[in-house]
Symmetry: C2
Subunit: 193 residues, 2 copies
């Protein structure tokens, strides 16, 4: 009887190699050849699971987004039931910042994806819906729930802090300090939450 190939296992092996290449060398270095070498399989094997560069990029981002979502959910769960809005917001946004080794790896992949979609707008369709939902949720936690501009600004501030953390322009302390200062501004400097 021929040995049955475990497709799920093989896909996971290749996906892990893809993420390692992306985190170490940048998403632009992700190619069939590189990923195959990192996974120890043939380029044809990689192509069986990811046919194009676009498919590899989209997959890498989906992994990063899933991990971010898990991080946020866990951090928020640790707050217990009904946390004050400011604390909830701070916890959520801080969990999205690339401040340790794992989140930095993921942040590099996300940033490379943003640069990639900036020249290929069609690839970024999913991002737009995610951003819209997130700004609405942020707005629902702000003292003035109808201030869409403040919510959009706070999310942009988080994104910019992430970019500067990855580039080494800001330290983790500076980034978190800027986030707290922003929440002070939005919540009227109140210590509540």
């Amino acid at each position: 009887m021929p040995k049955k190939v475990d497709h799920q296992e093989r896909r996971t092996l290749i996906a892990d190699a893809l993420m390692r290449v992306a985190a170490a060398q940048g998403l632009e270095a992700v190619s069939l050849r590189h990923v195959a070498a990192a996974a120890g399989v043939s380029a044809g094997m990689v192509q069986h699971y990811f046919r194009t560069k676009d498919e590899m990029m989209t997959f890498a981002l989906s992994v990063v987004r899933e991990r971010s979502q898990i991080r946020v959910t866990e951090a928020v769960a640790r707050l217990g039931a009904n946390p004050p809005p400011r604390l909830l917001l701070r916890t959520l946004l801080a969990a999205l910042l690339p401040v340790d080794a794992h989140t930095r790896d993921d942040g590099r992949v996300a940033l490379a994806f943003l640069a990639y979609t900036a020249v290929r707008p069609a690839a970024g369709t999913g991002l737009r819906e995610g951003t819209r939902q997130l700004t609405e949720f942020i707005a629902s936690l702000l003292p003035d729930r109808h201030d869409a501009s403040a919510a959009a600004g706070l999310l942009a501030l988080m994104e910019g802090l992430g970019v500067y953390l990855l580039g080494g322009q800001y330290t983790a302390e500076q980034a978190l300090g800027a986030l707290d200062a922003q929440l002070d501004l939005l919540f009227g400097g109140s210590a509540a939450g």
Copy 2:
């Protein structure tokens, strides 16, 4: 007598081709081969002026930064002598946002460079000094001149708005609305400036 090659002219020709490739296909698509094809010269000729990919990337960013600086200087000059701090800050930050075709092309190059340096920290040394100087200048214009966190946050907000403009997550109107809302927060909602 042999024809004297105009090096400056040829370098400009190749540099223009490099910027066209970067703006259209992304900085990760910038290769000796692509740039040579776009300039209508040999790959060897491109290599004579830019020996490595790092040199091409760094050059592309220097062009983008020079153009940004000119845009900011011109926009600020149009304000006349002694503009109010808030108006000066708004003008400076809005001039850095990718809201039209030219600034979008430059923004895409800058974003790709940020993604590139996120996996190659040494390439980003120049960025860090530029960011430090800019946050200091921003702080000097804020009502509380010693608030380094507010200045760092405002610059990060501008960077994040730029990222979302390039990705199509925010429209120009939304981005400028978020910038104005932030200046309202920082300047106490005063209409001055």
